[in-house]
Symmetry: C2
Subunit: 202 residues, 2 copies
DNA sequence: GTCTATAGCTGGATAGAC
DNA sequence: GTCTATCCAGCTATAGAC
């Protein structure tokens, strides 16, 4: 039993470091927060960070490794409904909920920055994005076949644009303002068939 | 005349530093590019950067001070047409054109990051954003009165969402892919009055 | 396992030569 | 005005005490 306790304890400390680091990275940025600051915020000493993680980068990566299972679960849960538009909106709503976190813009910006510098992080992020992309694209494709969604839309590109709009919402996140109503309006209308079509799809 | 030449020369060097710095900041980030690297890329020596600019931050700020007059001019040029929707799309098109620059995501991300750290930069960015916001809001307001735009839309919030979608497009900019057709589709439909309205406006 | 101390390095900003 | 040389601060990562 002693071993289990130790493992739990170790896992708890790793978590504490990750949580503290996430806040600091979002507020000050990756390069501007030192390992010592993370350790202090987590209630540990500077050297301990490097006992639990090989690198400062590894701390950053660990924060986002949690998102992959969450994304998979979300896509699985809403992938099977019989109203593709409603399913897409449900996934968007769930993702946009995190927008209310005041740290959202800082974290997003830092991810984009670090993805260009850390190939291993890029891999982690790419997988999560791919899961979401495939989930959206499958729903769009289904909608175009049932006639609920404009058949002129390319499922892949449309899925990408749903993610683009979500990115914009995250970047401009404001805890005092719920973006979901406007997101729903934009996406509903993006998907709908309509007589007076302006702009092309390609 | 000698003085004029010197002034021109000095202005040219300032520009050279700004140009070189913009590329490096976008590619590697603000904190990861040293003053020495900027100087080298601009064909000058390390100390010179601090002759032309008080700070490394000042170099960064200078890059974005150029955008304010550009934004004013853009808004002024399209503010007076008799088709508000077309004017909005024209402004969006003009802004989105810069999306084709491979440095766009890097620059955007770096601005967001640094705005939180440098109040003077925040001021510069806020002014440019405000000019654009007011331009869009005035056009939306006019459109709601003429009936070209859904009167249920709040001009301020709608303007903000046009900027949010643009941010998303910038963040996901890809030199091989023109975002303008899809941007036009999204914004046209966001603005249009429509019978089968889902989501609320507030 | 976790802390303290520190080695080793990098980079912003300056001082003084030219 | 511009360059070279350099000072000093601050950071990552490690080594070794406990």
């Amino acid at each position: 039993m002693a071993r289990t306790v130790d493992h739990e304890r170790a896992a708890a400390r790793r978590e504490a470091i990750m949580r503290a680091a996430a806040v600091l990275f979002a507020e000050r940025g990756f390069e501007s927060t030192s390992a010592a600051e993370i350790a202090k915020a987590a209630g540990l000493s500077s050297g301990s960070v490097f006992y639990y993680f090989t690198d400062k980068r590894a701390v950053f990566r660990a924060i986002f490794e949690q998102d992959l299972p969450t994304a998979r679960e979300l896509v699985a849960r809403h992938g099977a409904g019989d109203d593709p538009v409603a399913s897409i909106l449900a996934v968007v709503d769930a993702l946009a909920a995190e927008t209310m976190d005041p740290l959202a813009p800082g974290i997003l910006v830092e991810v984009v920055r670090q993805v260009g510098k850390d190939p291993e992080l890029a891999q982690v992020i790419a997988e999560t994005e791919a899961v979401l992309h495939e989930g959206f694209a499958a729903l769009v494709e289904r909608g175009t076949r049932t006639g609920a969604i404009d058949p002129d839309l390319d499922p892949g590109e449309t899925a990408r644009w749903i993610q683009i709009v979500l990115d914009g919402a995250f970047l401009n996140a404001d805890p005092d303002h719920d973006p979901r109503p406007m997101l729903r309006r934009m996406i509903t209308r993006l998907l709908s068939r309509q007589r007076d079509d302006a702009g092309d799809t390609a």
